[in-house]
């Protein structure tokens, strides 16, 4: 990108009497040769013609940036910088908090959990298959199951993600979860102030089979 930066002089006026304006310009027009004329308000064709004849550059109804002192500018720049630094720190903290929640010795399984099986996991579990009636899953960490659960779940992590599982028995931190609240998509289950909060994870449903 090529650019130039320079200051120009501006003459700003509002025309109330056209004759007076022309008279004034006639006597001073050499003075305005290197000015940018800004007309606020009405601009009649007579004036327009006159300005063009005199070869003067003009603009109509323009809000111009007012000049500021160097000190004021520096102060503003400094404030902007601290704002950016603060918001970056907040994002970083948030990311750290999330990764602390997630990377907790993750186990990934893609096997069907059949009846009678008790699966006890230290840390987090990502299960890509179904949990059949009569099976139990216990995790000390977070639990994500992408298919339907018909067995029992005991999770002691920060969150669970489950799809609709009307036949499941779900206990999260010794609190029984009302599974009718699980919608037919991936739901996040969290505990806030001893209350189970269930929210959809994504607005759009994802198809894990693909």
């Amino acid at each position: 990108m090529q650019s130039k930066q320079y200051s120009i002089k501006v003459y700003e006026t509002t025309i109330t009497d056209e004759k007076k304006f022309i008279d004034f310009f006639n006597s001073n027009h050499t003075l305005f040769k290197d000015h940018l004329i800004v007309i606020q308000g009405e601009l009649s064709s007579t004036i327009q013609e006159y300005l063009e004849n005199k070869n003067l550059k003009y603009l109509q109804n323009m809000v111009l940036p007012k000049g500021r002192t160097r000190k004021a500018l520096e102060k503003e720049l400094k404030a902007e910088k601290t704002d950016a630094a603060v918001s970056q720190q907040i994002t970083q903290n948030e990311l750290e908090r999330l990764s602390n929640q997630l990377q907790n010795n993750l186990t990934v399984l893609d096997e069907m959990i059949r009846s009678g099986k008790e699966l006890s996991i230290e840390g987090d579990l990502l299960l890509l298959n179904r949990v059949n009636s009569g099976a139990t899953i216990i995790t000390t960490g977070n639990l994500i199951i992408t298919k339907v659960v018909e067995g029992a779940i005991r999770c002691h992590g920060n969150f669970m993600m489950l799809t609709a599982s009307p036949k499941a028995n779900i206990v999260f931190h010794d609190v029984e979860v009302d599974n009718t609240l699980l919608e037919d998509r991936l739901n996040r289950v969290e505990l806030k102030n001893n209350e189970i909060i269930i929210t959809p994870v994504l607005k759009k449903e994802i198809n894990w089979a693909l």
Binding site: M112, R114, S115, G116, K117, R130, N132, S133, G134, E150
Partner: protein
């Protein structure tokens, strides 16, 4: 070398023994040498369903304890000479079985038969574990109802962890038979659909057997229902036996009742 198939269900009363008798006879009709072994020690009934109860002299436990030779204990079926039967002991209980003896017996049977079919006891106790331990494949029998499916699921789970083949790192083939399907109950939603059952159990479908009043009478008379050409359950077992013998037999949709089919046909002409 023959193939060893365990017929399992978890839950009792779903039709394991009836299925074993019919599949065994069906395989024999297909000109394969087949032996059916009753592993339900202490509660044998495969002999009755095959109509051989008065022919039992020696049982499987006596063969394992070398009190009788295998040849003496094997009973040839009246219905088909390719079918043989080895009875369970009615007087002993499940605790007489041990892995070494079972392995030896099965190895011997495999030498002289194309198919060795083991009728497992209900439940998941030691008797069941010994039945599945040396099986190459399993046929899982379920009824279209939740308790039968959950018990079958449990039985499959044990099969997948206790079978000798699995311990060697190989896989035991598992096939599903859905027994006693009532078409209009499936249509009205009172009975589970076979697709739903397959989704839960996640094993290959071998066949569907419709509910048939003739089955009980056939069992009482000791003539497996597969011999009755008019019986719908018998026809289903004929198809299943054909599949086991390597024939390509299309899966018949028995979950549409005749009334439902009629409605559909009328619907086409509307």
């Amino acid at each position: 070398m023959g193939i060893v198939i365990a017929v399992i269900s978890g839950k009792g009363g779903v039709g394991k023994t009836t299925a074993t008798a019919n599949i065994g006879l069906g395989i024999a009709i297909n000109n394969k040498k087949c032996v059916v072994v009753d592993f339900d020690i202490g509660q044998r009934n495969l002999d009755m369903i095959l109509g051989l109860e008065n022919r039992v002299v020696y049982d499987m436990v006596q063969v394992m304890d070398e009190e009788a030779a295998l040849k003496q204990a094997l009973i040839k079926s009246k219905a088909n000479e390719n079918l043989h039967f080895l009875a369970a002991s009615q007087t002993k209980d499940k605790s007489v079985l041990d892995s070494e003896k079972v392995e030896k017996l099965i190895a011997e049977l495999k030498k002289s038969f194309d198919f060795v079919i083991l009728d497992a006891p209900a439940g998941i106790e030691s008797g069941y574990e010994h039945t599945i331990e040396f099986a190459d494949a399993a046929i899982v029998i379920v009824n279209p109802e939740v308790s039968s499916i959950r018990d079958a699921d449990r039985a499959i789970g044990i099969l997948d962890s206790k079978s000798a083949k699995v311990k060697k790192g190989e896989e035991v083939a598992k096939y599903l038979i859905i027994n006693r399907i009532v078409a209009d109950m499936v249509e009205s939603g009172e009975m589970l659909k076979s697709d739903d059952i397959l989704e839960i159990l996640n094993i290959k479908l071998l066949g569907k057997v419709p509910e048939d009043r003739g089955v009980i009478d056939a069992s009482n008379q000791g003539k497996p229902v597969i011999l009755d050409k008019k019986s719908i359950a018998g026809q289903a077992y004929t198809r299943i036996s054909g599949r086991l013998c390597g024939q390509k037999v299309d899966m018949k949709n028995i979950e549409i009742s005749d009334a439902g089919l009629f409605k559909k046909i009328v619907g086409i002409f509307k």
